[in-house]
Symmetry: C3
Subunit: 349 residues, 3 copies
């Protein structure tokens, strides 16, 4: 597909500087621009590239000040980044959509599927499953007994959803993610052998949840493991049984949450963060990468770092001293020597 | 299914306090109880809820002391938690079991399968595989050449078992787990290119092993990677080539063990723990979450924490000082000033 | 297959000490040797075992000095480890290779496949995909629209390759790995809701790349996530969108790299290492297990450790003091007391 600068400016409600007839058929980062590409400039760190880029069109913020000649056609908008995201969305939607029921695939005769289902070959829908409208289930995905999936949800290849789980509307579950596998629950008997505690609850994903590739959301022992509306999880994240994650909370790759912990809304967790079991984490908490959270965080909006995680500014101060610990120890030894000498001299008097 | 308090008490050998005819058809946590639900009280932290719960029946320990009126019918047993696990087991077993060979599925004509096999659609059993009795292999699972699987084992969807691996009786392997992928072995030649070292060993899971979703157990370079009887691994765990994990050792999610390490029995490893290569870890060792174990642990029953991991009480003492490092540094600076002054005064005398 | 010592020595260009007619049909670690097995000795730590091993043949370096009687036949070569790897390779190649197109499998009629393809049952090749010669695609694997796969590449079961991605020649992708799932990109609007930023780039694996089980390589927002020639990644590794990993760089299990970071060639990263976003890491950098890298590493060949990662020798010095922090604090308190006393005495004078 091709668009003129004029068409794009009209769509975005922006104003043009330069040739309104220039045509783009692709997108590129401003520093990797080429003829026929659309780019954007939002972060001032990248401003230098606008004077050298080969992109044909660049979206810029209304307040961008031109300081040298620019080859590209500019389109000024209120927020260049958001406008660009909007165009990407349009572009993504313009791509050919999968549709129809491929064969062989498996739909149990008791399952109910909505309108406009895409079901890839080798995908499997079990007994009594209920699938909404406009759902896409890619090849080799598995939807267990009694599972409910809302409208407009995308289930990528090899996603496994165990029995009784519930997935809301407009969710995206990436390849290899496992929803509703047994929580890790064992009781130790008199001997050292563990006895499995059946995990008879389920996992619930509310609307607008996105789950990364190979992420695991375990089912609850009883009741439900719950991801509230708008939760976004990156790849390889682990959510243990009976955890609840609040609305619009996001977690980067390889983060993990232990059993029964309740996390507030609008939180942000960095990559490889670990959160202990049976905790309460307040709304708006942020934890830096690799943080280990061993206890409740009660203060809304806390920002923590380190393992064990503490307030980020305290942590950074301790980290700074830590790097110089050998010097601190040497100063201590020096001081001990001096004091000892002083003591001797004082005693001699 | 519905049960009276009387039927449950009889099954558990417990004694009833309250209405023996009350009926339950579900289970719930005591703090989330509702009419018709069975709950249990084991942890004294939750004792408060027994006076307000809407659950119809609560299992309690024989020595539980009632301190206020309770609406629910109580059933007293020796161990309320174990009794509850026993009932859950019963409940889980009562669920309809998958059975039969679904189509299309793939069984190589040289493979031998036992009685009462469940084989889901799109599951694959390769050449010379030998499958025991009462085995369930869910859709999209893959069983490689020459693999042996014992009786009563459950292989969930999308589990991949590479050629030559052996899985014992009564094992559970959750969705997306990969058994027997190549160990990470490369030899660096004269140039910077790596040459693959073929991994011609296998992976062995003894009886009663449970493997979490998306966990990986690599095959040995030569010989076997071995998980001994009763090992339980959570989701996203990584066991490298030639590792041996002792009986009844358990690992929480996202823990990883590097190549050729030998871990004793009855150990417990927290989430995100990392264990280095070529180590020996004694029996009964416990490591807290995110611990990094760089060297042998010879003392049975050691409890370690931190990265690098050291004895937990030493670690906690160091952690306590660490948090106050900036203060310690300031005290040092103050003291240096004072001592310098003292020295000057002493020299002046 | 069976080989005599003579045949092996001839193949390797080595020299025999002992019976040239002894026959082996298996390989074993020297410490686990048995009659009929071939072993090797490269690491002097294992030298003791050569005098007791039951292996029939042991490969040793030319400069190995015999200090006691040895039962096995020795074959002397320039590099025993490499020679052994060479033999393993030979052995692996001698195993029966999968071939042919199994049914049911799915090849879109617009896809082009090369000669000598192995396509397992339930594997899926999408629209306009282009597959080279001698490629093996195992059961339940998925190859998305427009994907290109080079010659001699192996795609193990349940590997998922999203649309538009490119895989080079002679690559190995282990089971459950996900290539090209969406990068983790969301824009936060005026409210707390996140808006998905479509990820319209792809992921590129150049030649000779090996990807471990359940590893994830996300597609770029725009442009490409790139793994250069010879990159080797272990299991559960995460490579975020727009990352570039240089030639022959290797990463151990559970390591993760955040978005847009550019890593040099010939680097080595230990298990569970985390690397922050938008960084540049120089060539030849090494990071120990669990390291957390928060900023650029400009110095080629740097070796770092810890979280945050610093130069390994500084880190080890700080770690040593850290372990004794309580003692350091006590010394401080003692000194403060002494100094206070001295001060008093001096004032009293």
């Amino acid at each position: 597909m091709e668009f003129t600068a004029q068409a794009i400016a009209k769509f975005l409600g922006g104003t043009i500087e330069g040739n309104p007839d220039v045509i783009v058929n692709n997108v590129a980062k401003i520093e990797e621009g080429f003829s026929g590409a659309l780019s954007f400039l939002a972060n001032p760190k990248y401003a230098q590239y606008i004077y050298t880029t080969d992109s044909s069109i660049v979206l810029v913020n209304n307040d961008f000040v031109v300081e040298a000649p620019i080859k590209a056609t500019l389109i000024r908008v209120a927020n260049a980044y958001e406008a660009f995201a909007q165009l990407l969305q349009l572009y993504a939607q313009s791509k050919k959509q999968k549709s129809g029921i491929e064969t062989p695939s498996f739909i149990h005769n008791s399952a109910k599927v909505g309108e406009n289902l895409y079901l890839g070959a080798f995908a499997y829908i079990s007994e009594n499953a209920i699938i909404g409208d406009n759902v896409k289930i890619y090849p080799n995905a598995y939807v267990g007994d009694n599972v409910k999936i809302g409208n407009d949800t995308i289930i990528y290849p090899s996603v496994i959803i165990y029995e009784d789980c519930i997935v809301g509307n407009n969710c995206v579950i990436h390849a290899g993610a496992i929803i509703g596998a047994d929580g890790f629950g064992f009781a130790s008997g008199e001997d050292a052998n563990y006895k499995k505690i059946p995990q008879i609850g389920n996992a619930i994903l509310e609307d607008n949840v996105e789950i990364g590739a190979n992420t695991t959301i375990d089912r609850a022992t009883m009741g439900s493991t719950i991801l509230r509306k708008g939760v976004k999880l990156d790849d390889h994240v682990h959510i243990a049984h009976n955890v609840e994650v609040g609305e619009n909370t996001v977690m980067a790759a390889q983060a993990g949450v232990a059993g029964s912990t309740k996390i507030g809304k609008n939180c942000m967790f960095g990559g490889q963060v670990g959160i202990g079991p049976h905790l309460k984490i307040a709304n708006g908490v942020k934890a830096g990468p690799q943080a280990g959270i061993p206890s409740d965080i009660k203060q809304e909006g806390s920002v923590v770092l380190g393992s064990p995680a503490i307030d980020i500014s305290s942590q950074k101060r301790s980290m700074a001293v830590y790097k110089n610990l050998p010097e601190l120890r040497n100063r201590m030894s020096d001081l001990e020597k001096i004091v000892k000498e002083l003591k001797t001299r004082l005693s001699d008097q």
